[in-house]
Symmetry: C2
Subunit: 104 residues, 2 copies
DNA sequence: GAATCAAATAAGTGTATGCTTATCTGTTGG
DNA sequence: CCAACAGATAAGCATACACTTATTTGATTC
């Protein structure tokens, strides 16, 4: 749930691949594993890390456990970026300004 | 320069603190160190990691070496977020849509 | 309710990482 | 030039981490 945990979770390429696969849609651990050259426990461990970081949620469906991306999981990182938005490229910065104007 | 390197660089709390201090403005290694309870070599090592990740740049000024945040350093991460913007909170998502409409 | 299968946990291992102290490098000001 | 000082590098260490194989847990289906 905190920045460090999320950054760490996304810092590992394999784990980021797992996350990216879940972005495609809800999947169980076996489906997540397809195409990735790691053992079943490895996937399970990665999913635990992602879950603890608040990036994914699990949902039991019969014998399987489905994993879904948590829509709010990335929020802390977005907030962090927001705090240093001075250094964002102009394109994004422009966007932000726009929102403020619209909120008024 | 690649996502993994940047995520890793920002995943360490001390190193992220170093980066955040540089966001305040150009500083030399000694100034960066102030208030942080780590040795001089530790700071030097953190700065090297940040520099290799493309997040900061160094600039010799006499006997000192000044460090500055690289404005484009975060771009790869922003692009990554962009790729998964489906899961951004609605507020931001709305913004994006708006921009597109305005571009037309 | 026993067999089956998905997924988690246990235990162990090699490597990466963040830190330290000690030393070296390089630039400057007297 | 050389003394002084900023910062980098070397070397070593303890811990964290990503992975493996082996085993356990837990739910379903026959």
């Amino acid at each position: 749930m905190n920045e460090t945990e999320i950054f760490k979770a996304l810092a590992d390429p394999t784990r980021r691949a797992v996350f990216e696969r879940l972005v495609e849609g809800e999947k169980n651990a076996t489906q997540v594993r397809e195409g990735l050259d790691v053992s079943q426990p490895a996937i399970s461990q990665h999913l635990t890390v992602l879950r603890k970081a608040g990036l994914v949620r699990e949902r039991r469906v019969g014998r399987h456990v489905n994993y879904v991306v948590d829509p709010n999981g990335l929020t802390p990182l977005l907030d962090w970026f927001d705090r240093y938005r001075v250094y964002w490229p102009a394109r994004i910065e422009r966007l932000k300004t726009l929102l403020k104007e619209l909120d008024q």
